[in-house]
């Protein structure tokens, strides 16, 4: 079998004695939007970090197009895969454009000047998140939603085929959550970017994802298309949640109504 995309083989993750993920072999489908779901403490953030090599596995491996990511040169990996951690903190006073420009770092030679390509990609990233007009504003002066979009512009400027985000909608109100997620979906549709997010809100995840990975307290519960993953049985075993699943009146996808 020729491996493509982002896959794990017998991946075990943990901190010191505590094992969080055990012997997990799973594939993230290429050029789709995948959401990782599960209750607090189930290891979904840990899993995402392992996919981005921020955490070294206890055993097993993560592969990107068949290459063990543990063996890829750091800078080359940063050209293929980007990650936005949860609640990043901007240095005091830096502007949106200064932040976004730093996303070009993996593409620039040590002494290479700022190129037209760099400028174009940054411009495009700002346009995609709708912040072109606020490029010269300090991040601290933006609203929560704008700030999150500025961080997303940073990883868009990194311009990688794989884009991982850890709870990109935390602290945002519902309208801004929708805004951020449709922005990521748009990126996927326009550029074929493989987007992987950790999300809390099940209904939003279903709405914006092509593929779901559902964890429970004891590891993986289900993975696949939303229709196959979001079932009353799976919700019960992952969250201990009794819920009805019915078609969303707008999208026809599964919608969760807790009892």
């Amino acid at each position: 079998m020729i491996e493509t995309g982002l896959t794990t083989t017998s991946l075990t993750l943990g901190y010191r004695e505590r094992v969080v993920i055990r012997e997990l072999s799973i594939a993230v489908p290429d050029q789709s939007v995948t959401s990782i779901l599960g209750p607090n403490g189930c290891g979904k953030s840990t899993f995402l970090k392992a996919l981005a090599r921020l955490i070294a596995p206890t055993s097993g491996q993560v592969c990107l197009s068949g290459d063990d990511i543990g063996k890829i040169d750091t800078r080359l990996l940063a050209r293929r895969l980007s990650i936005l951690p949860q609640s990043p903190k901007a240095p005091e006073g830096i502007t949106v454009s200064d932040l976004v420009r730093r996303g070009r770092t993996p593409w620039r030679g040590l002494l290479a000047p700022w190129s037209e390509e760099d400028a174009r990609v940054c411009q495009q990233a700002l346009e995609q998140v709708g912040l072109s007009d606020l490029a010269d504003r300090p991040i601290d002066e933006l609203s929560g939603g704008q700030r999150q979009r500025a961080w997303i512009a940073l990883v868009l400027a990194q311009n990688t085929p794989y884009l991982l985000l850890d709870e990109p909608t935390t602290w945002l109100d519902l309208a801004h959550q929708l805004e951020v997620l449709s922005l990521l979906q748009q990126r996927n549709r326009d550029h074929g970017t493989t987007v992987v997010t950790v999300l809390h809100d099940l209904n939003l995840a279903v709405r914006f994802s092509d593929h779901l990975i559902l964890f429970g307290g004891n590891g993986l519960v289900a993975a696949g298309q939303p229709e196959d993953v979001i079932t009353p049985d799976n919700l019960l075993s992952a969250f201990g949640l009794k819920a009805l699943v019915m078609p969303d009146p707008i999208t026809g996808r599964p919608m969760i109504v807790p009892h």
Partner: protein, 335 residues
């Protein structure tokens, strides 16, 4: 991508910063026990004769330029630590690296070691930094910036105490010189010192320039930095080494002048109105040079007939600022 409006403001900031340094240098060359007019200085520079030439070549030129070099090195050094630890209190003077460098130099002199001062200073600074890092280490977690700073203050006191002990055991004349040097002094500097501080300083600035992109990533947090292709631990240790060595270069020619490293960064950043690490480091270097040159002029001329060491003046300027910073930290509930 930066707007024209903010571009002009920043340009004005740089011009102001450069103008202040130029003015400070001019005042430093002109003012002293004997006043020399700018016209005489210019004539001395052009013709190489007259009182202006003597002032430039022997009396004030070398010490002024040494102040510029040492101040720039200290300013950049302070800003490295302030950016890495995200705390304005983080600087090689506050955190004991400069006391460590000073202590090593005094020990070298006391024991009659034939090791060049910059190397002694560098070793002392690195040992102090390793001690600070080692003593604040605890398993699992990363040290909080404030822990590192407080441990550094402790190491600094310890190094100063060792220096005092060594000085007391020296013969009287040597002890007086050493004590003066330990305060931070630019008296009797010659062109050798100028060459040394600019040569080593330039080398380290080149190294720093190569590290600045990694620094801009580290500023975003370790995880983002790693995701953007930085080798986080390696980059951090590299920057710490450059910072300690820059401080040591300053200490080797001017002694452990207090507070220049701590004050230069915030001052330069405020005047130039810049935020990116590359600009902050440059601004801090210029501001550090300006502070040191000015402090030297004032300490030379404040009391007629008495030349105070430059460190006395930077101490008088810096201590209130340090207290103000501490007060702000207390207000914010950090201490």
């Amino acid at each position: 991508m930066s707007g024209m409006g903010s571009g002009n403001v920043v340009l004005r900031g740089w011009a102001l910063l450069a103008g202040l340094l130029a003015a400070a240098i001019l005042v430093s060359l002109a003012v002293g026990q004997i006043m020399v007019t700018p016209a005489e200085l210019l004539r001395g520079l052009m013709t190489g004769t007259g009182p202006g030439a003597l002032t430039l070549r022997v009396l004030r030129g070398p010490s002024t330029l040494t102040a510029v070099g040492a101040g720039a090195a200290l300013g950049a050094s302070g800003t490295i630590f302030q950016i890495l630890l995200r705390n304005p209190l983080a600087a090689p003077d506050v955190m004991g690296f400069m006391s460590g460098a000073g202590c090593a130099v005094v020990a070298g002199v006391a024991f009659g070691l034939f090791i060049p001062l910059p190397i002694l200073a560098a070793l002392g600074g690195l040992v102090a930094a390793a001690l600070v890092s080692g003593l604040s280490f605890h398993r699992g977690g990363r040290q909080s910036p404030l822990t590192l700073i407080l441990v550094g203050i402790g190491i600094g006191f310890f190094a100063s105490a060792v220096s005092s002990f060594l000085v007391i055991r020296m013969p009287p004349q040597e002890a007086a010189d050493a004590q003066r040097w330990l305060t931070g002094s630019l008296a009797a500097r010659n062109w050798g010192h100028v060459l040394q501080v600019f040569g080593l300083g330039a080398l380290l600035f080149i190294v720093l320039a190569l590290q600045v992109r990694a620094m801009a990533l580290l500023e975003l947090g370790d995880e983002l930095a790693a995701g953007l292709g930085a080798r986080v631990e390696r980059a951090r240790y590299g920057l710490i080494c450059t910072g300690v060595l820059l401080a040591a270069v300053g200490v080797a020619v001017a002694g452990p002048v207090p507070f220049v490293a701590m004050m230069a960064g915030p001052l330069g950043m405020r005047i130039a109105g810049v935020k990116h690490p590359a600009s902050r480091l440059t601004a801090a270097a210029i501001a550090g040079a300006t502070i040191t040159v000015l402090a030297d002029v004032i300490s030379r001329s404040a009391i007629p007939g008495l030349q105070l060491p430059v460190g006395v003046m930077t101490g008088i300027m810096g201590a209130p600022y340090l207290l103000w910073l501490l007060w702000k930290e207390v207000e914010a509930g950090e201490v």
